[in-house]
């Protein structure tokens, strides 16, 4: 059955090459439609595969220059293929209209050509079954996404983001490559190894390499610094795919490694758990303070990666210490949250993209009042916000519910020492949940509600229909995933894990209906539209509204240890001995902790060392011949010494 993946792969490649090679006017609509059909076929095929509980069937095996490339799919792959299918369908509907807003024809061909190849490379990473194939498609994915981030290469910010992104993906490739090499030397073949004992040091080292490689790509905290630069710099459909799908692909590989490659150790579980908690808490803290809408969404992807890592870490800890049922619950929660995060993060990025294109700015303090002007985009963003802050009937809630249930289950059953760990993780987990709610109240409230703060937001008009049908599709899928989640899990073979959300949402609807009927019939119906009450002065202007930094100032005060702010002020005086003050500026900004204390010093260090090494090349013939002379003398000494 899984041979059908091959035509889908060809369809993706076709839609990519169509737009890259043919230069006809508006060719990108044709390529988007082919990509849409490919996405639809892919999601249908993967749904079929998931339901029929297909075992790992090979769908293709080749030998590229004497290295084995095998593609196969099983249920876990099918779930993520469904995610790729839905996202590509939504993006294919969204992109043609979005590209109209871009300037430069060559750039439109380039973007609409590269997106299908980007999806194709991620699909191939999912299907790969030999380490070499995985490595090749992993690097292909990195390269294509680098090109896509680089589309608007005029601005300095985009080029800095693209370079930072490439440097980090190169380092991630180093670790993944080293892991693959170590696996090859352990097992002697390129096939995916199965159940390597976690105890012997070399296997543990290979796991560590692979884990760090994947952590860099999925934005785990110490390595996350490229993500908030790269995702906003890319055009919106691309950042939706990068945040939605690329992070899920990296996490899929994490699941694949832990499920099949190794028999994980308890210490590995604690490692993943530690990284998960750190990423979840710090991710949401930085998201809270972010003023750029798309960077805020990027940071919240980091936060969700943290939550998923907590789920995976719990699975490893529980299965290593012998509690299979809550371990399975944590794993199912993590996988479900990855898929639902992929969908609603794609929805949020697409709608944010329409907002940014309509209002021409990404800064939250310059937006406002868009819900009245862009009702559809605002409504869909609202649904995305409801699912990301895990409100019960929506899909975000299911993942967090399962993970929290596993945590409390762990609290009940495990040894006292472990209980302390569980308590610690519970409190961090719920702190992240609460801060996510606050972040998205700020994101939705200040962008969409109240008065527009600048003329850009004032003149924003609703984007064309295609640009909200795509996200609407994602919103529908997200709602269905949320409401029918216990039925879906039952279908997949994990019944009885969670309360029935369907009845809960039915009751919500019924009560809402009853309350509305009661109030409509008994209470008075007359309503009046007036000015907002403002202690009697004239109508409130947009300057009287709360801004982003004002909204988050109390939390910044509570967690001031984490938010190191720096105050920079400059004064100008009229007279030389500085007593008549003319004017001055003062600004508070958040110290970018990781960037300033870790990445920039490292880059400067490499730069200085490179400067020293390149001194070797400055100089005339004499200096070069002197090098030869010294080298020959050294060799002769080695000759003498090594006899």
């Amino acid at each position: 059955m899984s041979e059908l993946f091959i035509p889908i792969i060809l369809l993706y490649a076709l839609s990519g090459s169509v737009s890259l090679c043919i230069r006809k006017k508006r060719i990108w609509t044709v390529s988007s439609w082919t990509m849409g059909t490919a996405g639809l076929l892919l999601s249908l095929l993967s749904l079929y595969q998931v339901c029929t509980n297909a075992a790992g069937e090979i769908c293709g095996a080749w030998h590229f220059s004497s290295f084995p490339f095998v593609l196969a799919s099983d249920r876990l792959t099918a779930v993520f293929c469904f995610l790729i299918g839905t996202l590509s369908l939504a993006v294919s509907v969204y992109t043609p209209r979005y590209l109209e807003g871009m300037h430069g024809n060559r750039r439109k061909y380039f973007v609409s050509g590269c997106i299908p190849f980007f999806l194709l490379s991620m699909l191939l990473v999912l299907l790969a079954r030999t380490t070499i194939a995985f490595l090749a498609f992993w690097e292909l994915m990195a390269l294509i996404s680098f090109f896509l981030v680089l589309t608007e290469y005029e601005e300095e910010k985009t080029r800095y983001a693209a370079f930072f992104y490439l440097a980090m993906t190169q380092i991630s490739t180093v670790f993944v490559f080293a892991g693959v090499i170590l696996l090859h030397s352990l097992t002697g073949s390129y096939e995916y190894p199965s159940a390597l004992p976690g105890s012997d040091p070399l296997t543990a080292l290979s796991f560590l390499f692979l884990f760090i490689g994947l952590a860099i790509k999925s934005g785990v905290i110490p390595f996350h610094k490229w993500l908030p630069h790269a995702h906003p710099a890319a055009p919106s459909p691309v950042s939706a795919l990068m945040s939605g799908m690329m992070i899920s692909t990296a996490l899929y590989v994490m699941f694949r490694i832990l499920l099949r490659f190794y028999v994980p150790e308890l210490s590995w579980g604690f490692l993943i758990l530690a990284f998960g908690c750190l990423t979840a808490v710090l991710g949401v803290m930085y998201a809270l303070k972010e003023q750029d809408l798309k960077a805020l969404l990027a940071y919240s992807s980091i936060d969700n990666t943290g939550i998923i890592l907590i789920g995976t870490g719990l699975w490893v800890v529980f299965s290593a210490s012998g509690y299979p049922d809550i371990a399975l619950m944590a794993l199912v929660g993590a996988v479900f949250h990855t898929v639902s995060h992929g969908i609603f993060k794609g929805l949020l990025f697409l709608t944010a993209g329409s907002v940014v294109q309509a209002a021409k700015t990404r800064n939250i303090d310059e937006l406002g009042g868009l819900l009245v002007r862009m009702p559809w985009t605002g409504g869909l963003f609202f649904i995305g916000v409801l699912s990301i802050i895990s409100i019960p009937p929506f899909s975000g809630f299911v993942g967090e519910l399962l993970i929290l249930q596993a945590l409390i289950g762990g609290l009940m059953q495990m040894s006292p020492l472990m209980q302390i760990v569980m308590l610690f993780v519970i409190s961090l987990f719920s702190l992240t949940g609460a801060l996510t709610v606050m972040t998205f109240v700020k994101a939705f409230g200040l962008t969409f509600l109240a008065l527009p703060r600048t003329t850009g937001a004032e003149k924003a008009r609703e984007v064309s229909p295609a640009m909200y049908i795509g996200p609407a599709l994602l919103a529908g899928v997200s709602a269905v995933l949320g409401i029918f989640s216990s039925q879906i899990l039952g279908l997949l073979g994990y019944p009885g894990m969670m309360p029935d959300i369907l009845t809960l949402s039915l009751f919500l609807l019924i009560t809402a209906g009853l309350v509305y009927a009661a109030v409509y019939s008994f209470a008075s119906r007359n309503t009046r539209i007036t000015k907002t009450w403002d202690c009697g002065i004239h109508a409130p202007t947009s300057r009287m509204e709360y801004t982003g930094s004002g909204f988050t100032q109390p939390v910044v005060r509570f967690f001031s240890a984490i938010y190191r702010t720096r105050i920079v002020y400059s004064k100008e005086y009229m007279d030389p001995d500085q007593c008549l003050f003319r004017n001055g500026t003062a600004s508070i900004y958040l110290v970018r902790f990781f960037e300033e204390n870790f990445y920039l010093p490292l880059a400067r260090g490499i730069e200085r060392y490179a400067e020293v090494v390149s001194q070797l090349q400055k100089g005339g013939v004499d200096r070069y011949v002197l090098y030869v002379f010294a080298a020959v003398i050294a060799l002769i000494v080695i000759l003498g010494w090594s006899a």
């Binding site: 004499d622 002769i636 003498g640």
Partner: protein
Amino acid sequence: MMPDVVRICLVLVLVSSAFLLSSRSLSNLVKNYQYQSVLLVLIATGLAVIEDRPLLFLIAALTLASKVFGLPAFIRMIQERMRIQQDIRFSYLHPTGALMVSIGIILLVYVCFARILHTLYAHNSLFFLGSVIGVSMVLMGLLAVCTRKMAITKVIGYLSMENGVLLFGLFVTELPFIIEFVIMVDLIILVLLTTLLTVGIDSSIEEYKVRLQKFHLWTEEEGAQ
């Protein structure tokens, strides 16, 4: 008896390359090179007599023709055109320092080769002595190349390195004659090319064009720069 004559010549060759390192004026630099080539010819004939290999006579004649008369005459012609006599500019090592270093080199090579070729060293073979002196001559030539600023003096240093190789080649009994001959031709071409290029480097740019006209090698439009 004869071998110790050869040993004396070998030592004299080392002395000549030491002189090469330290001489200041260009003209006696070339004279030094000529003495060194003459010594080489003597060694070649000596060896030919001892080990009665007629081949070495031919090599000696060839060296006499090219290295004692041919190349020095060509270099002296280049020197007149450049009208630069004194090459006082040194980089890194002044002559006294260069001599110190060359003594160190000879000792180092001797010790290292003794440790490696302990069998040959044991019965004190001529080949071992030849290899030590050959390698150290090459190294001293290299030192000359890198301590002199003027390109023309670098060429002469290079020639003394080539002499070292030739010397070492003599000691190997049946090294085919063709190899020796072809090396000679190859090195002559090399030196011709480098001397032409050095003409460009040493003299200042303006003279460079005028001088090249004289050799009518490169007809120059102004557009090159």
